[in-house]
């Protein structure tokens, strides 16, 4: 069946929405301003540990990323070698500017469900922009009671997210053929994250750096921030603050309540 959209032929314009400004968040990752101390970690360590486990178990970032990547792949499949976006019947559009409104019905918690149902399993709606044929590095939108299954080893956990989503892929537009998962991907979630029956309010930024590295930007009450980093596959974890810069940061274990900073170890 031909599936097509009809519109009336009146003077149409394309309103390109403004992406959320994530510059401050990205800068905060690159230049953490807080100075970590035992007192600071005493205050936030347990909360940070809980958030880490919540993110790790829920895999909410994978759920969101899967949706974005699937649309990017479809765009790439319809883009020729010269960068023209092909719309069957209407021709190829060279280096187009475009607004893409993504709708995804979440899979729900029933493993054998034939397909998602937005009424019971929730949905994700995202906005993606094409800038002269490339994907603009900001994708944003919201999730409405999105329920999905997260794999934790051999078991699965019932996860959910309800709230706003903003994703940042870097400073430059990304070609449709480039692997998004290879980039540093910054998430900002503002809503309620649920896993295994537990629901926690979240207003948080975190980012994926590839090879299972995940970083959490933690803002302190005084307006400064530091980065806690860990690996989803290995026990490696660390801290990046004003005194401990560099991608690897300084060694820090939330479980052992110990960080090794340039000035020496701190405990809490």
């Amino acid at each position: 069946m031909l599936c097509a959209v009809t519109t009336m032929s009146c003077a149409e314009t394309l309103d390109i929405p403004v992406a959320p400004d994530l510059d401050d968040v990205v800068v905060a990752y690159a230049s953490p301003s807080a100075k970590i101390s035992g007192t600071v970690m005493e205050a936030v360590g347990d909360e940070l540990l809980e958030l880490r486990e919540l993110l790790k178990q829920s895999e909410v970032f994978e759920e969101i990323l899967d949706v974005i990547v699937s649309v990017q792949l479809e765009l790439d499949a319809n883009t020729d070698e010269s960068g023209n976006l092909e719309v069957p019947g209407l021709g190829a559009f060279p280096e187009p500017n475009a607004v893409i409104e993504i709708n995804h019905d979440c899979a729900g918690w029933e493993r054998n469900a034939a397909e998602g149902d937005a009424e019971t399993a929730g949905s994700i709606r995202l906005t993606m922009l094409l800038d002269t044929g490339d994907v603009r590095p900001e994708v944003w939108g919201d999730a409405t009671q999105c329920k999905f299954l997260a794999a934790l080893g051999a078991t699965t956990l019932q996860s959910s997210y309800d709230g706003q989503v903003a994703v940042h892929f870097g400073e430059e537009p990304v070609p449709t053929g480039e692997r998004l998962r290879d980039l540093v991907i910054t998430f900002v979630l503002t809503g309620t994250l649920g896993v295994a029956g537990k629901e926690v309010p979240i207003d948080q930024s975190f980012r994926l750096r590839g090879e299972g590295d995940l970083e959490i930007l933690w803002e302190l009450n005084d307006g400064t921030s530091f980065v806690y980093l860990f690996n989803l596959e290995t026990p490696r974890q660390g801290i990046r603050d004003a005194n401990c810069t560099g991608d690897e940061g300084c060694s820090c274990s939330l479980e052992e309540r110990e960080c090794t900073l340039p000035s020496g170890s701190i405990f809490w």
């Binding site: 314009t13 394309l14 792949l73 976006l85 719309v87 069957p88 187009p96 500017n97 409104e101 998602g116």
Partner: protein, 301 residues
């Protein structure tokens, strides 16, 4: 379209034109006279019960100042191109000379043109590998074009006339693939305004020299709206912004119209973009190396 139907339609068109050319002479004459005026790019229309049968256009005067026309090329395209699902590109134009007093005339014309083309884009889906069957993947496009024109004509004297007008053309095209399995489909809209003028100098009752100018001061941004289907759970709507045509496309076309008892020939070659009269659209100058032609041969009786 079925090949036999295409052949019958071709025969019908040829017979109609032949019959017109050999019809019993009427009182109407096509020489350049005070009464017989140029029809193209002017405010004038056929008299009641008057015919125009030509290579490019077929017209009939329904009332004194109302003619109905159809352009032949869009129909003939369907005879030669198998991709058409409609019988060519059906089109009809109504032109009415609302005012024709003393030296001034004013007309309004409205045209509708539509069509549908479907081409096999993935014959590999057919087990035979060569012929496109209903199981093959088709790429389809539908279009609807409706130009609206207002033209005025002023007779300076018995030999010289000036014609000025404007045409607003709204175009919509809808495309997609079928069967629809995870792909992009969409519709495009583009509107444009054309201003035209023609200087007419009658050298004799047979020969009239013309200089036609056409200008495109406004072309709307082309907006394509479509759908992306990724899988059962994921889809998207897409709005694409594209600039297909340039504003300020123009053409200057010197030409001549030869008019005898019934036969007429209109010829012209100019510089600039090619303004396709039947559809009110414009082919950019770069496509035809800035050659802008005008041609028609027709009988009027």
């Amino acid at each position: 379209m079925h090949p036999s139907l295409r052949k019958h339609l071709l025969v019908a068109v040829i017979c109609t034109m032949s019959a017109g050319a050999s019809a019993v002479p009427s009182k109407a004459r096509a020489y350049h006279t005070y009464k017989e005026r140029l029809l193209d790019t002017t405010a004038y229309s056929l008299e009641r019960r008057e015919f125009r049968l030509g290579a490019m256009k077929l017209s009939y005067g329904i009332f004194k100042y109302l003619e109905i026309s159809t352009y032949t090329v869009p129909w003939l395209a369907g005879l030669f191109l198998e991709e058409f699902e409609t019988i060519g590109s059906p089109n009809v134009e109504f032109k009415s000379t609302l005012i024709n007093r003393n030296r001034f005339a004013l007309s309004v014309s409205v045209e509708f043109l539509w069509g549908r083309v479907s081409s096999c884009t993935n014959p590999m889906l057919n087990p035979d590998g060569q012929l496109c069957t209903t199981e093959a993947e088709f790429s389809t496009v539908n279009w609807l074009v409706y130009p609206i024109s207002v033209t005025s004509s002023v007779r300076i004297n018995s030999r010289i006339s000036i014609h000025i007008g404007g045409q607003y053309t709204a175009t919509q095209a809808t495309g997609g693939t079928r069967p629809f399995e995870g792909d992009i489909s969409g519709s495009a809209v583009v509107n444009m305004l054309q201003i035209y003028g023609m200087f007419e100098w009658r050298l004799s009752r047979v020969v009239a020299l013309t200089v036609t100018t056409r200008w495109l001061p406004y072309v709307s941004q082309t907006v394509v709206r479509g759908q992306i289907v990724v899988d059962d759970d994921t889809g998207a709507t897409i709005g694409i912004q594209a600039d297909i045509l340039d504003n300020n496309a123009f053409a200057v076309i010197p030409g001549a119209v030869f008019s005898w008892n019934r036969a007429n020939i209109r010829l012209g070659v100019g510089y600039g973009a090619f303004f396709v009269e039947p559809v009110g659209l414009v082919v950019p100058a770069s496509v035809l190396s800035s050659i802008s032609p005008e041609f028609d041969v027709f009988v009027r009786f």
